[in-house]
């Protein structure tokens, strides 16, 4: 019983020691932008990616955007899910960010992130 109590006291001491030594990451010295809602154009674009609807995607974007999207999704070849994580805006320029999970060509579960650039209610770039 006394040994158990001593062990518990040790654990408590370890937690206090960790709190004392662990200072956490440095503060962000730069200002952060406020989040905005997901742009509808980006939402439709990513919905097509999530549904693996190549037909719809081909009508929404030109070849350079599709090439950039392909690079951004590497090494995922089989998209399983897409998730909007946030969007920010600076002087009319919008960035809408997504996390995509899926499988690689080797069948390994992987996660990638990409960002759509949106202007005039259109997706104008990837990353």
């Amino acid at each position: 019983m006394a040994t158990l109590a001593l062990f518990a006291v040790g654990i408590l001491g370890g937690v206090v020691l960790h709190a004392f030594l662990e200072k956490g990451p440095a503060e962000n010295p730069f200002p952060a932008l406020p989040k905005v809602d997901e742009p509808p154009a980006a939402h439709d674009f990513v919905a097509a990616v999530g549904a693996e609807d190549a037909q719809a995607l081909s009508k929404m974007a030109d070849i350079s955007i599709l090439t950039d999207l392909d690079a951004a999704l590497q090494p995922i070849v089989d998209v399983r899910s897409t998730r909007f994580v946030g969007a920010v805006e600076s002087e009319g320029r919008l960035l809408s960010a997504y996390v995509v999970t899926g499988k690689t060509a080797q069948g390994i579960d992987f996660v990638v992130g990409f960002v759509l650039r949106v202007a005039n209610d259109q997706v104008v770039g990837v990353n």
């Binding site: 040790g10 370890g14 937690v15 992130g113």
Partner: protein, 141 residues
């Protein structure tokens, strides 16, 4: 006398193991809470955060331990570029925003928006998607 010594030694050992266990547990819980976004945590990885600060402050030494190993020539070239960049103040960061992230297994991805002014005075607004695994940034998009 020997019995007393053994008792004190055993007690100190138990206490020491407890301290180590407490330290490891609180460290693991801290990482879990930070990565999961529980209790108001942003979900931002401290590794990704440190990487972005090192990048924007043009300090390659700050991120040398949290990215894949590079050759000596690559590291030297990077330091040279950072020195030149600092000397000419060619870029001025205006904002750094953590947008969000997600994870699968041991892989996590963290996305940032960066606003900076280049040497010509032109503002650039772009993003970084950092993939973190094994305590390092293994990919930057």
């Amino acid at each position: 006398m020997v019995g007393l010594r053994r008792l004190i030694g055993g007690s100190a050992g138990t206490l020491l193991v407890g301290v180590l266990a407490g330290f490891v547990i609180s460290s693991a819980v801290g990482v879990f809470i930070q990565d999961s976004g529980l209790f108001g945590a942003s979900g931002e990885s401290p590794i990704a955060h440190a990487y972005m600060l090192g990048y924007l402050q043009r300090d390659p030494n700050a991120i040398v331990g949290i990215r894949p190993n590079q050759s000596i020539a690559q590291r030297a070239a990077e330091l040279q570029g950072a020195d030149a960049s600092r000397a000419t103040a060619s870029i001025q960061p205006l904002s750094l925003t953590y947008i969000g992230g997600g994870s699968v297994g041991s892989y996590s991805v963290h996305i940032y928006a960066v606003d900076l002014r280049n040497a010509q005075g032109v503002d650039q607004f772009f993003s970084f998607a950092l993939t973190v695994a094994g305590g390092k940034v293994i990919r930057r998009e």
